[in-house]
Amino acid sequence: MRWQGAIGFLLLLLWACSSSDSTGELEFRNFWATPGKKGFNAALYGVIENNTDFPETLRTVTSTVAKVTEIHRTVHTDGIAMMQPVPEGVVIPPHSTFSFRPGDYHIMLIQLQHSLQVGDSIEVTFSFARMAPQHLVVPVKWR
């Protein structure tokens, strides 16, 4: 019985140390922001998991670290990389995930208000169509 308790404690510890933030209904996994100098642009990447029975739409992302924050997608056509703003937001299907990753969908931090260095962290707010806004603290790192 004692070892079962120890395993339970370890599982709880693992859960607490994992890099995901969860409301139960929405889970934010492995979010990170790229470094950048003041005035430069940076990007935000990570995975959102929708654990509900309904599709959820991420409408906007905001952060005081940048003058503007936009959802974008990089599309490759005939060797040309094109940046496409996604003002309508992105839909996360029920019991499914949506990935923001380099070279694909990403959240753009336009014109940083101050420099971001590896080891810093930034506050970001995700606003959804159905659920309440979610606040996240995101580390700054390379990859």
Binding site: T34, P35, G36, K37, F40, N41, A42, A43, K67, V68, H72, T74, H76, G79, I80, A81, M82, M83, P102, G103, H106, M108, L109, I110, Q111, W142, R143
Partner: protein, 215 residues
């Protein structure tokens, strides 16, 4: 005279001709192999007789590619406001630079696609952000006309997105562009092109070493 010599070797002109002709396929195969070996890095764009006057991150004048003669170059086209693709390309190029010994005559060059905003100071800041070793790296900008001319010769596409405005009224834009990393030989000829943001680090390093061994 020729005939008597052939006779001494117990060969008729017909058998000599037949042997000569039978050697042609062998020579052809050798020829094809030689051509294949030498064209593993065919010349994609020859800039050896071109001279583009650019400016490096320190404000010094650079003639591209002449000032890099006798070195193999890995050249990427980027712009410093690019938040997604160019950091990927720079990151890969940085990884390649770590795997290529410093003593080899190889240099890493970033050429901006946004000469209007990418001043030498902006390029210096970009170099500092990525901790680029400026003994091996050069970041280049120039006049819009020169950059456009270089892009045209190298078939590098770059077009601005529509202007948008920040809350303070400042305009901003992005650039849709060719995602390219180019391998240049010591004579200023582009010999291989890769998709910059997805370039296979190991393969490019192997290609650099192979190109060096052919020089």
């Amino acid at each position: 005279m020729t005939r008597s010599k052939i006779a001494e070797n117990n060969e008729t002109p017909e058998s000599h001709r037949s042997r000569w002709f039978s050697g042609i396929p062998f020579l052809l195969i050798v020829g094809i192999l030689l051509v294949q070996c030498s064209s593993e890095f065919p010349v994609e764009h020859d800039l050896s007789r071109k001279a583009f006057r650019l400016i490096d991150q320190n404000g010094h004048s650079v003639v591209f590619p002449a000032d890099f003669r006798d070195t193999v170059l890995l050249v990427a086209f980027i712009y410093t406001a690019c938040p997604d693709i160019c950091p990927l390309t720079t990151d890969r190029l940085l990884e390649m630079s770590k795997r290529i010994p410093k003593e080899l005559p190889v240099r890493f060059v970033l050429i901006t696609l946004d000469p209007q905003r990418d001043t030498p100071q902006q390029l210096r800041d970009y170099a500092a952000l990525y901790q680029l070793d400026l003994k091996r790296w050069r970041l280049l900008t120039g006049t819009i006309a020169t950059i456009d001319s270089l892009r045209s010769v190298m078939e590098i596409y770059a077009v601005r997105s529509p202007l948008k405005k920040l809350p303070d009224g400042t305009a901003y834009y992005f650039i849709n562009h060719t995602d390219a990393l180019c391998l240049f030989d010591h004579r200023g000829r582009e010999r291989q092109r890769y998709k910059g943001s997805e370039a296979d680090v190991e393969k490019v390093v192997r290609d650099v070493q192979q190109l060096l061994s052919q020089q």
